[in-house]
Symmetry: C2
Subunit: 498 residues, 2 copies
Amino acid sequence: MRSRYDQVMSLSLRRGFLFPSAEIYGGLAGFYDYGHLGAMMKRKWEDLWTDYFLSLDDNYYLIDTTSILPYKGLKASGHVDHFTDVMLTCSKCGESYKAELLLEDLTEKSVEAMTLEEIRTFISTADVSCPECGGKFADPSQFNMMFPVAIGTAGKDKGFLRPETAQGAYLNFKREYEALRRKLPMGLAIIGRAFRNEISPRQGTYRMREFLQAELQIFFNPKTFEDRIPREETANDVLRIATAEGKRKNQIDEVKVSEIVDEGVLPLFFAHHIALVQRFYHKELGIPTEKLRLAELSEEERAFYNKIHYDIEVDLESLGGWREVAGVHYRSDHDLTGHEKGSNERMSVMDGGERIIPHVLELSFGIDRTLWAMLDILYTVGERTVLRLPPRIAPISVGVFPLVNKAGLPEKAREVYRVLRRSFDAFYDDAGSIGRRYARMDEIGTPFCVTIDHQSLESDDVTVRERDSTDQVRISIDDLRTVLNSLLTGVTKFEELK
Amino acid sequence: MRSRYDQVMSLSLRRGFLFPSAEIYGGLAGFYDYGHLGAMMKRKWEDLWTDYFLSLDDNYYLIDTTSILPYKGLKASGHVDHFTDVMLTCSKCGESYKAELLLEDLTEKSVEAMTLEEIRTFISTADVSCPECGGKFADPSQFNMMFPVAIGTAGKDKGFLRPETAQGAYLNFKREYEALRRKLPMGLAIIGRAFRNEISPRQGTYRMREFLQAELQIFFNPKTFEDRIPREETANDVLRIATAEGKRKNQIDEVKVSEIVDEGVLPLFFAHHIALVQRFYHKELGIPTEKLRLAELSEEERAFYNKIHYDIEVDLESLGGWREVAGVHYRSDHDLTGHEKGSNERMSVMDGGERIIPHVLELSFGIDRTLWAMLDILYTVGERTVLRLPPRIAPISVGVFPLVNKAGLPEKAREVYRVLRRSFDAFYDDAGSIGRRYARMDEIGTPFCVTIDHQSLESDDVTVRERDSTDQVRISIDDLRTVLNSLLTGVTKFEELK
């Protein structure tokens, strides 16, 4: 049997979820394109994400900012100096490796928290050599992962492709604070591409050089933010926490939000938001609870700008275990303070009678990773091959088929299709047996199919079939749009129609 | 009085449509960010564009592809060799200029169609000198406008930021042709960022180094495509054509689609599609007919890959006249043939019993330019300052106000707001007089405002005010959502409610 990874990749390539970028030229390691089904799924995911997270506060908004940023801004943010990976280069064949990944593979030990000096000592004592040619490694070096871009005819203006969307929100903080009439908390979200020159891109869309992020930066006054948190909303949510130590033992602690806050382990505002993110993955995206955990990052593991950092991880068979898909980061006033120093523009604001530099809570989502996780977990290959995507995320919402290609059924089916496609992503199919057509829709996650049969011509009704149960009900054509709309938005459950 | 450009820019900066990118670091020439209102307007524009153009055929789909493309692909497409501008560099101060723009400014003559040699002769006879320092120009040179990107630790893989989204569609043609079950015509649309290292970025968002495109590539069989065009649909549309000669004389010919086709000036498939694009700008985006023209590009003006090329131009006061916002390009089989040669992958397909390389019709839209054009044309500054955006594109769909901040009105208004925001982009405002609140909504194009007054508490109804007429009607709170929905989608006109 094919591996889970191959199953998901095969579905992606055959049906048009994902393709290696520039594949006809042999591709580029670390780059993937979205085919038509992937692009539809992605856009729906983005709409859902926006609805869910921007509705947390009236003062949260989407903005959209450039991919190219100037040197100065990324110097001030710390990325020019610190956004590096330790690289090992073979002195024989010249192949380069990301030290962290290579050493974990070869020695099963984590070097994530080690300094350059410690890694040097480690490789000499552990006696590792190049997996390609067996050669010895040169001294480890720091490699900056940003892609430089020279701007202007003489390339005088130095810039970089942004390594995260977040910086766009910090750079526009002042302008938006004015445009939004000086209120905290203020949320600025960006959905867009980010770029990292990964030393070792691998595992499909998991570690890419160009990738999609959805990030919400919440700017707040640390003295008053907690008062605004609707604590009763998540108090009883059970967080599935893997502490820095728990991760090593593969142990998950289930703790209520109210408990973890009362015990002083996490501040309320942080616990509340990780609960919301966990809920998003479970309830909105359909990831089973047991496949989700909130992984704490220790001080050594955290990025240089994070004060508290939890990753949302999903247990993925295709990638061999727990993988980060999102993160919640308390960045304190690191970012705005850095930009105040770098730009000499005042970032502090008056709030509650005091001049403060707002703190930042970042909710950061890897879109590609999350979509991959959904394909991995919700795709069942077997007697029936079904992709159990939540209806709101399914690329095609409804398939429309004539039962047979004669006796006026195709004409009637086309008519129904033309009406439905005005409101839904509908797909018309009359090729092959009805069973094959259902199977094709099941495989790409289409939640409902409408079939026009002989009876339809007399009684003006159709069969609606639900993907997961394969149950069918008869619905009048006049009601079809309304019924499908209630089903797709979750207002009505399919069972209620029977 | 302020210039139109300054009026639009001031609106953009104050209210959050557009900000210079990385402004706190002095900005980068040719880069702009979208603030919260601009980002909302942009996303709605994208949804409208997608609905309008992808509904032209069941086999048209959105895909999403990477910004970084490999050298080989852009070599094969011709961009490495031909995507150049002629540059003039001052031998005294070193300043560089785009020859076409500088010479047009200085001599009012177009050099667009000249070769490098001809430009050299022209500058020596016309006796032009550097506007910065008066120095002489060195020999003109070709400057490639793509941004190179070095990929991998040693930068071994050479790539570029894509100069147009189009290439992503050509590179995925084969995969999508299979996934979409081998049918022509097939349409692949991409909405995303493209990058050009412009020698002289200028005029706000008009000539940017990083910009947004929405492009639809229609792959078709030239022998059979015309049979599928619903010719009666656009036969009577009046095209406003400026021929290559007409442009010089500032003359527009009004010609029906059926006439221009019958006269053999344009093939049906081309005339039909420019009619659809003209209609999109007029009917969907609200640009008055007299501000629109379809400008023919002569053989010398066209890009190297276009066989027929018309630009959609809008007459913009802020930018001093007719400016290109979109283009319709018949690229023939140039692109797929080039990639077949470059990649050695077969791009031909079986269609109608014959092996053919599909031809391409490209509908290409500059999103930033189009949004700027809408702000320019639809913004009226005066006694009443109003942005007359079509309701579907307005960033905020409905404002909700309590008439006064007492007697239970804010509570009731909040209640109405909470219901409306689930379905619409609603904005709650209780600051300042009701007149000021209306004015703030008028200025950003909010088509409808809902006011809760004392009577609302008794009879459970509210006042709905229309932006353009300032007329008001009384609507019961129970019906409000349905009524607003009909108004915003254009099903109901406001007059009908009176």
